[in-house]
């Protein structure tokens, strides 16, 4: 097995061209920190972007940063913090979750479209990718997007690259929209007797003019704690804390979390650190927020699980065990407003028998497979990482 570590887009192109000629698939990686997520890639050789790194352009007043795909997430966040800015989608740091040395590369975050608690208010990773250049599975170099905030010139291929798990093209340089860091952060927490009540608290908060930037529920001592985050200029956060407290007073006793207590809480949510480390399976469910309590109750009727909610209830993190857990979860989601479930962490043997990603219907699966064909007709890039429901077909069109 050969590991290629290109340092330029021209080198990426050469490696992919050789792989195409020899019809030998490539595993695409950064630092391998997220190999625990997704299907297992069967490829004789690996293309690692660990050598293709560095911030190439950063203009804080333009809210734009350009970096090579292999740049460490930590390096990006450090550079932004120095200028009082941030990645607003709050990418998770999953080194604790996957047991890796660090949180990996920018390319990995984008390829997996990973977003943290602020997803509910600020959007996902996919909402911050302004442009990129890449080499497709056809060994073709191409660019898309730009360095400006507002651009509708041609198809928005940035959206397609986010969450493509390296199966369409290998990104070389990534252009991101960045935002100012909030000057002040505080959270409000409230102990509830039931999950349904906690969900109502989040619904009331997010339906108010207090602009929450996070809404989570964790179990505690037989009850549930709903926590809501407010961010912005200090005078505004303090004002909104008062409004929110007034709004939620009827639900129970409130507690304000400030400073590290607040930031630790949200880092814990962001990095999925609240679930049992030894759990056999960890699932990520995207659901209709108001139906989350019902979804959880139905899952619990057959399986013993641990869980926590983020995204105002729209994101359910859940751990448990059992061969039928995945299909049970998916059936219950389908019966409760739709949604999808991803197996975030499990042993290789369990991932081999339970589909990691939500199976797609025939029509959408067909579209997904044809999109794969458009970029990588010979299935050279990361085969089987995402389950598309079919293989690319070089003769499809």
């Amino acid at each position: 097995m050969a590991v290629y570590t290109p340092e330029t887009s021209a080198e990426i192109e050469t490696i992919i061209r050789d792989a195409l000629l020899q019809k030998t698939p490539l595993k695409i990686s950064g630092y391998g920190t997220k190999t625990g997520l997704g299907g297992q890639v069967q490829a004789p050789d690996e293309l690692s972007l660990a050598g293709h790194k560095g911030i190439t352009d950063y203009q804080p007043e333009e809210l734009v940063m350009v970096a090579r795909a292999g740049t460490l997430l930590a390096e990006i966040e450090e550079a932004l913090a120095q200028k009082g800015q941030m990645l607003a989608f709050e990418p998770p740091h999953l080194e604790g979750f996957y047991g890796t040395e660090h949180a990996g590369s920018l390319g990995g975050v984008i390829a997996c479209n990973l977003s943290g608690p602020r997803r509910i208010s600020a959007g996902a990773a996919r909402d911050y990718l302004l442009g990129f250049d890449a080499v497709s599975g056809r060994a073709g170099y191409f660019r898309s997007g730009s360095k400006v905030m507002k651009n509708v010139t041609g198809y928005d291929l940035s959206k397609l690259m986010c969450g493509s798990f390296g199966m369409l093209a290998v990104m070389s340089e990534i252009t991101l929209k960045v935002l100012p860091r909030p000057e002040y952060v505080a959270s409000l927490s409230l102990i509830c007797t039931s999950l349904a009540q906690a969900q109502s608290v989040l619904s009331a908060a997010f339906g108010s003019a207090t602009e929450p930037s996070g809404g989570a529920i964790l179990g505690e001592g037989g009850g549930f704690v709903a926590t809501i985050r407010l961010e912005g200029v200090q005078i505004s956060v303090e004002d909104r804390l008062v409004s929110l407290s007034d709004l939620l007073a009827s639900f129970g006793d409130l507690r304000v979390l400030e400073g590290e207590e607040s930031s630790d809480f949200w880092a814990n949510m962001r990095d999925i650190a609240f679930l049992d480390k030894g759990a056999e399976q960890v699932w990520k469910l995207s659901a209709t927020p108001s139906l989350a309590p019902q979804v959880i109750a139905e899952i619990q009727s057959s399986f013993d699980i641990e869980f926590g909610l983020d995204w105002a209830g729209g994101l359910i993190w859940l751990s448990g065990s059992g061969a039928g857990l995945g299909s049970h979860i998916r059936n219950i989601l389908a019966a409760n407003g739709g949604g999808h479930a991803t197996l975030m962490r499990a042993s290789d043997s369990i991932r081999a028998i339970q589909p990691v990603f939500q199976p797609l219907g025939e029509a959408i699966g067909g579209l997904q497979t044809r999109i794969k064909t458009a970029f990588d007709p010979e299935n050279i890039l990361n085969p089987q990482r995402l389950n598309l429901g079919g293989e690319a077909d070089a003769n499809a069109f």
């Binding site: 007043e61 996919r126 660019r143 507002k150 995207s286 959408i364 064909t373 458009a374 970029f375």
Partner: protein
């Protein structure tokens, strides 16, 4: 404007095609007489007009699917159309194509306050979504200037923006789900009230695809709680360069206003003549800055912004003292296009985006171009996000002026790209900027985009002739030409 050469065999089969469409749609859903079809012969880019082969106005997704499947099987082209407010000719009909209007899809199907979503049919107007929820204190954030008329389905096709997208994002950042019909006639759902659909992001790629990939038959958007307070300030400058610099200074200070608009002197005076918004007529440039949120935050940030404006050399400043006054400030900006329409028989509206810092340079170049072409230009900008709307004034009845205006517009867009920007920020490519795509993209870039098109519509039946300057057959795009163990471009350096 060159559209693809109509296929004679389709034109010859018109009677048969009309009969087939009538057989699959309810009475009154097919329009085939030329007089009535005339109402559909252009969109808001009215310089270009063309009669379609036939107009269909289906009422259900099933009917849309039947029409599309029949057209695919019979190799008949389709041009989708929402409210027809496209400024780039995205809904310009084809002589040998069926114009598929979504005007009868005009119902809001669900309002869900608990999950803060609205689900609507694509023909519902942008403003109608806000109107439906405003009594409960909510609104839909993207607010294109055409919001009273433009449809939410059209907003998806164009990824529409508006004056508040600096803070609240474009359509793509506010759509949660769609139901769409593929060219195969399949009805599929992507997303919904939950976030982030599995697989490749089809919702993301559909948004802004200008009707080339599928036809949207239902839309779910997120709605937001109306901010507690909104206030706007008018800031005058003696030079457009200073105003441009002030915009960067505010954003550089970590403040993202809800909106930050700029108008130059000709636009200020045209608007002032039209609606008496209270703009400073003598200013070379005017900024309208809007802040929203809790009252204390708005007051605090207004103070900070005022300080930054002063140090940037502002010559006048006014803060709205009432909701009425705030609306008056915006009335001038929002009516800038009709206002300019009063001072010139015709105008062309351009839509490039540039990096904010390039604004002063762009204005200098624009003034030089105005001299060169002998045509006046009035500028309104979404300055916060670098999106320019130069309005080129001309008289279509004067020999050669339209052509000169078009050349002027093309040169502006080439300059946008040269300054690190793009051809279109929110109006779309359509037919208008189609032939300029090569300024921004290489042949390889465009071919990769067209391969994506092939995944959805391998026969190029959906809205062909828009966006891409050259129609490559999918077979030609799709093949990997591996000959004798060599791919194309063997000359690319190896390491």
């Amino acid at each position: 404007m060159l559209l693809p050469e109509p296929e004679q065999n389709i034109l010859d089969r018109r009677d048969e095609i009309v009969a087939a469409l009538k057989s699959m749609l309810p009475k009154g859903c097919v329009i085939d007489d030329r007089t009535t079809m005339k109402a559909f012969d252009s969109d808001a880019l009215s310089a270009y007009r063309n009669l379609p082969l036939v107009v269909v106005l289906p009422e259900t997704a099933r009917q849309v699917a039947d029409v599309m499947k029949w057209c695919r099987d019979n190799k008949v082209k389709i041009v989708p159309r929402g409210a027809g407010t496209s400024l780039s000719g995205g809904a310009l009909p084809l002589s040998d194509g069926v114009l598929l209007g979504l005007g009868k899809f005009n119902q809001i199907t669900e309002i869900d306050y608990e999950n803060r979503t609205v689900t609507a049919q694509p023909g519902v107007t942008n403003l109608a979504i806000t109107t439906a929820v405003q009594d409960n204190g909510f609104y839909y954030a993207p607010d294109p200037s055409s919001q009273i008329a433009c449809s939410i389905g059209g907003n998806i096709a164009e990824n529409s923006g508006g004056v508040h997208c600096l803070k609240y994002g474009l359509t793509t950042n506010n759509v949660l789900g769609i139901e769409m019909v593929t060219m195969d006639g399949e009805i599929v759902r992507i997303g919904g009230k939950h976030l982030d659909a599995p697989g490749f992001d089809i919702l993301g790629i559909m948004t802004g695809s200008e009707g080339l990939l599928g036809v949207v038959t239902e839309v779910t958007v997120r709605i937001l709680r109306k901010p507690a307070t909104q206030r706007a300030m008018l800031v005058g400058f003696d030079s457009a360069q200073q105003a441009g610099q002030a915009v960067s200074t505010v954003i550089g200070a970590g403040i993202i206003p809800a909106g930050m608009e700029m108008m130059d002197n000709p636009a200020i005076n045209a608007a002032e003549d039209f609606v008496q918004a209270g703009y400073p007529r003598e200013a070379a440039a005017l900024l309208i800055v809007e802040l929203d949120g809790p009252e204390v935050e708005v007051d605090y940030l207004l103070d900070r912004v005022a300080g930054l404006m002063k140090t940037s050399g502002a010559s006048s400043m006014r803060v709205s003292q009432s909701e009425e006054e705030r609306n008056q400030f915006w009335a001038g900006r929002k009516s800038a296009f009709p206002a300019v329409g009063r001072i010139s028989p015709d105008y062309l509206c351009m839509d490039g985006t540039i990096p904010r810092k390039a604004l002063p340079e762009m204005l200098t170049r624009m003034a030089a171009m105005s001299q060169k072409y002998g045509l006046r230009v009035a500028n309104v900008f979404h300055a916060g996000d670098g999106n320019l709307h130069p309005l080129i004034l001309f008289d279509a009845n004067a020999e050669g002026e339209l052509e000169r205006a078009e050349e002027f517009g093309a040169e502006i867009l080439r300059n946008c790209v040269a300054l690190g920007g793009v051809l279109t920020g929110e109006h779309g490519v359509g037919v208008e900027k189609r032939d300029l795509m090569g300024e921004m993209f290489s042949e390889d870039d465009l071919k990769q985009q067209q391969r994506l098109k092939c995944a959805f519509d391998p026969d190029h039946l959906l809205n062909p002739g828009k966006v891409f300057p050259v129609l490559h057959r999918c077979a030609e795009l799709g093949r990997l030409h591996v000959h004798h163990g060599q791919l194309p471009h063997p000359d690319i350096p190896r390491f």
